[in-house]
């Protein structure tokens, strides 16, 4: 029996959706500014037109559904899931108008990839793309990585509704007592790192004789995409374009920081640096990186195509941490994966992508905390079974504060792990049905669902439309961690089923 959504539910959801679309119209004025300062008149007009489409649609919805009410849980969850779909539809408009995409579906794919901070691309000839369009691609990553709803929270969601939509966007932890303060803190951290990261990248690019304007553009875009673990780049060669170990080191630092829980950032910012060594999630993360890098090394030792340790470490370790943090930046070509990477090393990358980064960070995937909790749960069960019946077994871990492992933690972790693995495999099987070998199909499926963006070449403008839609769904499900999307599906079903 599906509980029916009332007219009031629909009205509340559409009211906030109207606000969100209206807000997108305002946000689209930023690339207009980028276009105007670069004297790119045609792209500027495209953004003005796109902005007006959003403002018009948003104000029309607000005209019809003008009552602001507090949201309940199901409304909040449905709103979040719908917001991402609407953001994709409206965010894709300027991309489609740019003429760099074969179809509107390709623009939708790219918009979802940007908002979900995946980094898989269908753009044609990005090397000749106007600054305004290219900025928008990266700006969508920044907005999506911070969380579309989190952006909205700081602007126009009030009261009790705020926490419900915050949770719906796959963030469970309130870093500060008040959710609006939490959203503002996340912005403060991101903007501070934006200034620091962009300045360092700018300095390197200027040293390399890149003109100041272009150096600044590259640096801002690289930061936005790296910090929010998206993996888009200004040029089609991605990080390989720069041929620079310095750029690789700095971008690696940026995306490693981006993949750290904002709670840990808060602890360090508020004078508790010991959290870095005590935090359970970070310990599991380090262990996972080392274990998976060992797997990649074994893969290469068995079939070693690299001529030396330095090139090997530079290329293989960068790919591994890029996969594990979910950024998808790459200093090798797609063809390199195809022709030079042994299957065992590819398996290491697939596992790294699947596991993902920290919870409450900009990273995707299952999340390391859940993996850690799952194993803690197994350890607890073994301890219970091997202890006297009267013994009370308590398993603890430190994550911002000392927490004892409860059955509910383990249950929720296991559910999310199972859902992710099921979607990873389903995407791989669907890719195989479309005629691709299973390993690359699985690689691409995990990359889409875990919002990574590394590719073995399946993702291209020429891939079947059905597979593009499958990957869009996977990116959406993966970014929102299923629950809010399931609530939305329930909502849609309840509209169709009889009273």
């Amino acid at each position: 029996m599906i509980p029916h959504f009332s007219r009031e539910d629909v009205s509340s959801i559409l009211h906030y959706l109207g606000r969100l679309i209206y807000g997108m119209g305002i946000v689209m004025l930023v690339p207009v500014f980028v276009g105007v300062i670069n004297m790119e008149w045609a792209p500027s007009i495209d953004f003005i037109l796109s902005s007006l489409i959003c403002l018009c649609a948003g104000s029309l919805i607000l005209l019809k559904f003008n009552e602001e009410r507090d949201l309940n849980w199901r409304q909040g969850m449905s709103l979040v899931a719908l917001s991402w779909v609407m953001a994709m539809f409206f965010g894709a408009i300027p991309l489609y108008l740019s003429g760099h995409y074969n179809s509107y579906l390709d623009s939708l794919f790219e918009a979802m990839s940007a908002f979900a901070t995946t980094g898989l691309v269908l753009v044609n000839n990005v090397d000749h793309m106007a600054y305004a369009y290219n900025f928008w691609r990266h700006f969508m990553c920044f907005i999506g990585g911070q969380g579309i709803i989190l952006v909205a929270l700081t602007l126009f969601v009030k009261g009790g509704s705020a926490f419900k939509v915050y949770v719906g966007e796959a963030r469970e932890e309130k870093i500060m007592p008040n959710i609006i303060q939490t959203a503002r803190f996340i912005w403060l951290v991101s903007l501070t790192y934006l200034v620091i990261g962009t300045s360092i990248l700018l300095f390197i690019n200027l040293l390399r004789d890149i003109s100041p304007g272009r150096a600044l553009f590259h640096s801002i875009c690289l930061f936005m995409s790296g910090w929010d673990t998206a993996g888009f780049a200004v040029q089609s060669q991605n990080i390989l374009y720069y041929h620079s170990p310095a750029i690789e080191i700095v971008t690696a630092m940026i995306f490693l920081l981006g993949a750290v829980n904002f709670g840990v950032h808060y602890a360090v910012w508020t004078g508790r640096p010991h959290e870095l060594v005590r935090n359970f999630e970070l310990k599991v993360y380090m262990f996972s990186i080392l274990a998976l890098f060992s797997l990649v090394c074994i893969g290469f030792i068995m079939q070693f195509p690299f001529p030396g340790y330095v090139p090997f470490f530079r290329k293989a370790f960068y790919q591994l941490i890029s996969a594990h943090t979910g950024v998808g930046y790459s200093n090798i070509t797609v063809q390199h994966f195809l022709y030079f990477w042994p299957p065992l090393a590819l398996l290491g990358i697939i596992l790294a992508m699947g596991l993902g980064g920290s919870s409450s960070s900009t990273a995707g995937g299952i999340k390391i905390l859940r993996i850690g909790l799952f194993f803690k749960g197994i350890k607890k069960e073994i301890r219970i079974l091997t202890s006297p019946e009267s013994a009370v077994i308590v398993e603890r871990f430190h994550h911002i504060r000392d927490i004892s492992v409860e059955d509910n933690h383990i249950k929720m972790s296991a559910i999310i792990i199972i859902l992710y693995v099921a979607v990873y495999l389903a995407g791989g099987v669907i890719g195989s049905f479309y005629g691709y070998p299973f390993l690359p199909a699985l690689f691409e499926s995990v990359s889409a669902t875990a919002n990574v963006g590394l590719s073995m070449g399946i993702t291209s403008p020429l891939m079947p439309n059905g597979l593009k839609i499958v990957y869009i769904m996977q990116m959406w499900l993966g970014r929102l961690e299923f629950i809010s999307v399931f609530v939305l599906f329930k909502f849609i079903l309840s509209l169709k089923s009889p009273q």
Binding site: W41, L52, Q235, H243, S244, P245
Partner: protein, 168 residues
């Protein structure tokens, strides 16, 4: 007689080797048949895109051939030859580069590159003018007007509600 035949064969083989050396290798072959070309002198052709980036005393430029790219290492003299780099509104110079191909360059920490010996501009790049579409401008003006009407009504409605209007 035999010696004469040998001389002819030798001449033909030298000729074919020279022809092979000057043959342009499609860039995809540098990936697909990497072992064949590793450490060999190759010649590639493509559009110079993006930026010329300094790296000590040498420079990098990326050359694009279809969907494939390769980083070319240039000296300061060769760098000066490339005037137009492919970007928005700019079609880059089409260059023909001859040099040594490295799958994992020992000098550049394993980069895949070509160390240019010669670089020639086959086709000079050019500026491409933007086309402004009047349809989009007209549509923008119309949408702007409609949006103003919607926003005005929305505010009026809010105001009426606030002052105990018919919707309250």
């Amino acid at each position: 007689m035999k010696i004469k035949h040998m001389q002819v064969l030798l001449f033909l083989s030298i000729l074919s080797c020279r022809a092979y050396a000057s043959e342009i290798v499609p860039m995809h072959k540098l990936f697909e048949e990497a072992d064949r070309y590793e450490g060999q002198k190759v010649e590639v052709k493509g559009e110079a895109v993006g930026d010329i980036m300094g790296d000590g005393e040498t420079y990098w430029v990326n050359v694009k051939d279809g969907d494939f790219f390769i980083g070319i290492v240039l000296d300061s003299r060769q760098k000066g030859l490339v005037k137009n780099l492919g970007r928005y509104r700019v079609k880059g110079d089409i260059v023909r580069v001859s040099g040594i191909y490295n799958v994992h360059c020992p000098l550049h920490y394993g980069e895949r590159d070509i160390h240019a010996e010669t670089i020639e501009i086959v086709e000079e790049g050019r500026r491409i003018e933007e086309k402004l579409e009047t349809d989009k401008i007209i549509l923008s003006v119309l949408l702007g007007l409609i949006t103003i009407i919607f926003i005005y009504h929305s505010h009026r409605m809010k105001h009426r509600k606030g002052t105990g209007g018919p919707h309250n």
